[in-house]
């Protein structure tokens, strides 16, 4: 099924009324959409956990959307919140390489670009964005990130800390 805005919104509205068939289709479509949304923005080993955490959040918070509003910007806000929370909790991942797996690009490029994680990361100062990408997303150690960026180890830590704090405050920002 196409994960387009109109279809997802219709399925969600039916799901809120208790329609299980629509809900199963919605969760399936959201799962695919989330895999694409998070791909390359989380260590591959964490992708499943994060997608599942976000599906659970969608389930428990499904009353916080209503049919007068677009669905994908709502889902993206939920997904960004879980993503930032996940990055905060993340310890060094096993992978040192980022797998290039491009999953399910969205059908609506304008909406996708507006609500993407790249856009959120792009709002950070470059040094903070780079420190988070290297350590929290690609799974490098602080020392490795320090060597790659030329920042001291303590500066890498400070940039990660400040960057995550800023991300948490900008979740709904365009």
């Amino acid at each position: 099924m196409r994960a387009d805005e109109a279809t997802l919104a219709r399925l969600m509205a039916l799901s809120q009324q208790g329609d299980r068939q629509s809900y199963a289709a919605l969760l399936e479509a959201c799962q695919r959409w989330l895999r694409g949304y998070y791909s390359r923005r989380i260590a591959p080993s964490s992708l499943d956990d994060l997608v599942q955490e976000t599906l659970i959040a969608l389930h428990t918070k499904r009353a916080s959307w209503d049919a007068t509003r677009p669905f994908l910007p709502w889902l993206a806000a939920i997904a960004r919140y879980r993503w930032v929370d996940h990055l905060r909790r993340l310890y060094r991942a096993d992978e040192h390489e980022l797998h290039e797996e491009l999953l399910g690009t969205d059908d609506e490029p304008a909406i996708a670009a507006r609500i993407s994680l790249d856009r959120l990361l792009g709002l950070l100062p470059p040094a903070q964005e780079r420190a988070i990408a290297l350590v929290k997303i690609e799974g490098l150690s602080i020392a490795e990130a320090s060597a790659m960026t030329g920042q001291s180890e303590s500066l890498v830590k400070v940039n990660i800390h400040r960057g995550l704090r800023k991300l948490a405050l900008m979740i709904e920002k365009e």
């Binding site: 299980r20 969760l27 499943d48 389930h59 916080s64 209503d66 509003r69 806000a77 709904e172």
Partner: protein, 216 residues
């Protein structure tokens, strides 16, 4: 492959426990906040009485300005909290700051006037009366605080710390609004310091307590 099986099992479990939900509508949230504020104000008036000049059919301009500023701040902050409960990339949560900036004139002017008066502004009787209004305002803000916290718990605020702060501002401002309907004092020092202190204290309390209750 395992991961997809896990996700499929999770989806099946979530579908299995699906129950109908009533979506959080903006209008319902606003009506809830205004009802809580109205009940708090009515409670203060019923328990302690309306200001004497209102009973006599007149009103002091200073009192009207201050009451209007607190009411406006309570409304603006409540609207922000209600929006925060319904997340969406692209939402703006900054509107309440303009109302807060305008209401901040009250403590600024009040403090300046108090400094000009010196010790007189800290006389025991003045302090006692001020503390009474402060305590009453805090009590009158609890219903709004509870309502907004319940709203945020049902919703999905993506900035719990900020949501707690703004909910505290809304509750404190409506609490001061309620006290303004009873307190007969039109003095800018009293209103600017003690009535505004309710907003500041509730904002701090909201920032400290509410995020723990609404994090998800």
């Amino acid at each position: 492959m395992t991961m997809h099986r896990d996700s499929d099992a999770l989806i099946a479990a979530l579908v299995g426990e699906l129950e109908p939900v009533r979506p959080l509508r903006f209008g319902a949230g606003l009506a809830g906040a205004l009802t809580a504020a109205g009940l708090s104000a009515a409670g203060v008036v019923m328990l302690l009485g309306l200001r004497p000049d209102w009973v006599a059919g007149s009103a002091d301009p200073m009192h009207l300005v201050a009451t209007g500023l607190f009411g406006g701040l309570g409304l603006a902050a409540s609207v922000t909290v209600i929006v925060m409960g319904r997340p969406q990339v692209g939402s703006d949560h900054g509107g309440w700051r303009w109302a807060a900036g305008m209401a901040a004139l009250l403590p600024l002017v009040g403090l300046a006037a108090a400094i000009g008066r010196g010790r007189e502004a800290m006389a025991p009787e003045v302090m006692r009366h001020g503390a009474e209004c402060f305590g009453l305002g805090a009590a009158a803000s609890l219903l709004v605080a509870a309502m907004l916290t319940a709203w945020l718990r049902r919703g999905a605020p993506t900035a719990p710390a900020r949501a707690g702060l703004v909910a505290g501002v809304a509750a404190g401002a409506f609490g001061s609004f309620a006290v303004s309907l009873h307190c007969p004092d039109n003095d800018i020092v009293h209103i600017g310091i003690w009535h505004a202190a309710t907003v500041v204290a509730m904002a701090a309390a909201g920032r400290l307590v509410i995020p723990r209750l609404i994090r998800w």
